[in-house]
């Protein structure tokens, strides 16, 4: 085995033996025997030695082979470890506390900018490899943190009790200390390399710290990534702050715009109200003209003035609605609403215009159309009116159809289909903007272009949608709204019956003008229940005659549509009478409920109106209001409402 000398055993040289002459022969023989035995023993010993030598040589060979194998394995593993450290940017150090000597792995040497194998033997020489600004911190960490747990070379926690150390229960020996430091990075210009240093004590059997095992990890990329992330975060934060600032500025600007818009809306609403009031007076006065005395030219002029006045009133109403919507004050007043009545009323109102243009106007209600719903009947009617008037306006032949369809999830679709000029798909979006007039070929100009914009806002408040589709020939305007069908509203079975009685016990005398026998009976019955004296006539002419006859009536209930002379005309003539009679309270009775529909009666001088079908409580309320108002002198008395 090369390099490994075997131990040789040498048999000692036989000692010299002294022989006496007298018994030399015997002695010689004895000596020879002894010699022979000694020779035999020596030979045996030599054999044994030879055997042992062979065994030892074999053992030596085996051990040498094992050692070489282990050495090779160790070298390989060391190389692997070093390779792993290099790949991972990871290194180790051992610091002998007693000798203050350092042992650095090659990777650590590379990290701190040394050639592998360079001599950095002490901790201070290591610290000098760091950036100047990190050196003090590193020394502080070493002296105050790392060694603070040790007193006189012993673990402060367990005070060197061996039993704890041997069982490995000393926490101080297991604790890890960590610091991040930087050193110049020779590879990348003036860049720095960031290192994460972690240390752990190694203690002896007396729990005395003997070594510090240190791992050093190159965290340059991580730190760089962290720095970049921090930079990005800072930028993002700055951007966020900028956005917040911008948002605040926008909010302020929006508040200012809202304030300005509110002011504009208030101004518009006030102006519109202020204009509407005298306009109503003008329109009312126009209705007082006795057309029978006018020439044909004057009649045409009067018709033009009336038409212009009506258009202006519609425009003002639209502006008020729009201003209300923009101010967020467009609210709904839902309540029990007879949907069928709303639809038929709307159709009735526009039928005459359709007839004038020789258009048909049909209502097609789906079989499952709910009758009673919880909705704002006034706004619903406004939608129907707007869509029907548009359809009639833009249709020159054919007809208009008002349809209903019940959709899933309690939604109702109402459609107005016409055979008019239709609307190109690319221009439909313009329909719903304020003051939008499409001016399509063949359409008649008119309106301010506010109607659909207002409709859209109303429908939005209702939680629905408004749209327009191609109807093949013409257009189909539709809206879908959520509807809650309700049972037929329960009426008070036994309403509180009140009656009128004057201070002298006299009951009011009421004149009723109504052409329908059924309604006459109903109204007369209600009035008797209210404790009134009643006279019933069948038309406006009879009512005028009755008032002129000198019978002292306290109130007139006047139907609007009657043969011979209608309600507005009879009212105008009563107001034109001389003396106290012209101030007689007149309450209009009508199935019409919209202000526009009631306008002729109110313009003629009616004090109030009661909707048909007559509900006794409504009649009582309107009469209370009218009768409490002092009538003309000489016939003036207040009626006191009493219950019984």
């Amino acid at each position: 085995m090369p390099g490994t000398p075997l131990t040789r055993y040498t048999v000692p040289t036989p000692v010299a033996i002294a022989i006496e002459p007298a018994d030399s022969a015997a002695q010689i023989a004895l000596l020879e025997r002894r010699l022979a035995r000694a020779e035999a023993a020596r030979a045996a010993a030599e054999d044994l030695l030879e055997q042992k030598s062979r065994v030892l040589a074999a053992a030596n060979t085996e051990l040498t082979a094992r050692k070489e194998s282990l050495s090779t394995s160790l070298e390989r593993r060391t190389r692997q470890l070093l390779d792993a450290q290099r790949v991972a940017g990871f290194g180790t150090m051992l610091w002998d506390i007693r000798s203050r000597q350092l042992e650095l792995s090659p990777q650590v040497q590379v990290m701190i900018g040394l050639e592998p194998g360079s001599a950095v033997k002490t901790y201070r020489s290591l610290v000098r490899r760091l950036l100047r600004e990190d050196r003090r911190r590193m020394l502080h960490w070493m002296n105050r943190e790392l060694l603070a747990g040790l007193t006189n070379g012993r673990c402060e926690r367990c005070e060197g009790r061996a039993d704890q150390a041997q069982t490995g229960s000393c926490e101080e020996s297991l604790r890890e200390y960590r610091i991040e430091v930087r050193c110049p990075n020779g590879d990348v210009g003036d860049d720095v390399r960031s290192l994460c240093v972690m240390a752990q004590f190694q203690i002896d059997s007396q729990c005395r710290p003997v070594m510090i095992f240190v791992t050093v990890q190159d965290i340059t990329r991580q730190v760089r990534a962290d720095n970049e992330a921090a930079t990005l975060r800072a930028r993002e934060l700055q951007r966020l702050q900028d956005l917040e600032k911008l948002n605040e500025e926008l909010l302020i600007a929006r508040e200012q715009a809202d304030i300005a818009n509110d002011a504009k809306s208030r101004f518009l609403a006030m102006m519109s109200h202020d204009i509407r009031t005298p306009l109503n007076g003008v329109i009312g006065m126009l209705s007082l003209f006795d057309e029978s005395t006018l020439t044909a030219e004057q009649k045409r002029t009067l018709a033009l003035v009336r038409s212009s006045g009506d258009q202006l009133r519609v425009l003002l109403n639209d502006i008020i609605d729009l201003a209300r919507a923009e101010a967020g004050k467009l609210t709904l007043s839902p309540g029990p609403t007879n949907l069928v009545d709303v639809l038929t009323d709307g159709a009735d109102f526009w039928r005459h215009l359709a007839t004038e243009k020789s258009l048909s106007l049909e209502i097609v209600l789906a079989r499952d159309t709910p009758c009673w719903i919880d909705a704002d009947s006034v706004r619903l009617r406004q939608l129907i009116d707007n869509m029907l008037s548009n359809a009639i306006k833009y249709t020159s032949e054919g007809g208009v159809m008002l349809k209903t369809r019940v959709l899933p999830q309690r939604r109702l679709r109402i459609e107005v289909v016409d055979t008019g000029i239709g609307i190109p798909a690319h221009r439909r979006a313009e329909l719903f903007t304020d003051f939008s007039q499409l001016n399509l070929l063949g359409s008649e100009p008119g309106g301010a272009g506010l109607g659909l914009a207002i409709c859209q806002r109303i429908i939005e408040v209702m939680g629905g949608t408004l749209g327009v589709d191609d109807a093949g020939r013409g257009s189909c305007f539709w809206f879908e709204i959520p509807v809650a069908e309700i049972p037929v509203p329960k009426r008070v079975a036994n309403p509180v019956v009140r009656s009128f009685a004057g201070p002298d016990g006299r009951t009011p005398r009421v004149l009723v003008a109504e052409d329908l026998a059924t309604n006459r009976i109903v109204i007369e019955g209600c009035l008797r229940k209210l404790g009134c004296e009643v006279r019933v006539v069948e038309d406006g002419q009879q009512a005028l005659t009755a008032v002129e006859s000198g019978d002292a009536y306290d109130l007139v209930l006047m139907d609007m549509a009657m043969p011979v002379m209608d309600g507005p005309e009879a009212t105008r003539r009563i107001r034109a009478l001389q003396g106290a009679l012209c101030d007689l309270p007149i309450i209009a009775l009508t199935a019409f409920t919209r202000p526009e529909e009631l306008a002729p009666m109110m313009a003629a001088g009616a004090n109030d109106s009661v909707a048909k079908p007559i509900v006794i409580e409504d009649l009582y309320r309107a009469m209370s209001k009218a009768l409490a108002f002092p009538v003309a002198s000489g016939n003036a008395h207040r009626f006191i409402n009493s219950s019984h």
């Binding site: 009758c371 329960k490 019955g525 229940k529």
Partner: protein
């Protein structure tokens, strides 16, 4: 869709003195037939004013009883013989229903 609104009709009758329930029923039957016929005549004569007037009166009448079926027929197309027949039937059925509801309220 119901011919009339029974609750409204009953409340209408109950709100009135009992002695006028019978005259009211008679007047209603007469008015409904009369104005129904006037509407048909106006449609036949293509007289828009008369049509509007008749529809308005029928609406006023029907409103007392929630007679929406009659109104629905009146608002529809009444040109064909079938439609006119259906309109007549609807009016008669409505009158019968009103009378049936009123009967217990009429004093013997």
């Amino acid at each position: 869709m119901d011919l009339i609104d029974p609750e409204l009709t009953l409340s209408q009758f109950e709100a009135l003195p009992p002695e006028i329930v019978a005259p009211l029923c008679e007047a209603t039957a007469t008015d409904l037939r009369d104005w129904g016929q006037r509407l048909l005549d106006a449609v036949a004569g293509d007289d828009p004013d008369a049509i509007r007037r008749a529809r308005h009166s029928l609406k006023g009448l029907c409103g007392n009883f929630g007679a929406s079926a009659v109104m629905r027929c009146a608002d529809g197309d009444l040109q064909s013989a079938d439609a006119r027949a259906r309109f007549h039937e609807c009016i008669e059925a409505t009158i019968a229903t009103i009378l049936a509801l009123a009967a217990p309220l009429i004093p013997q």
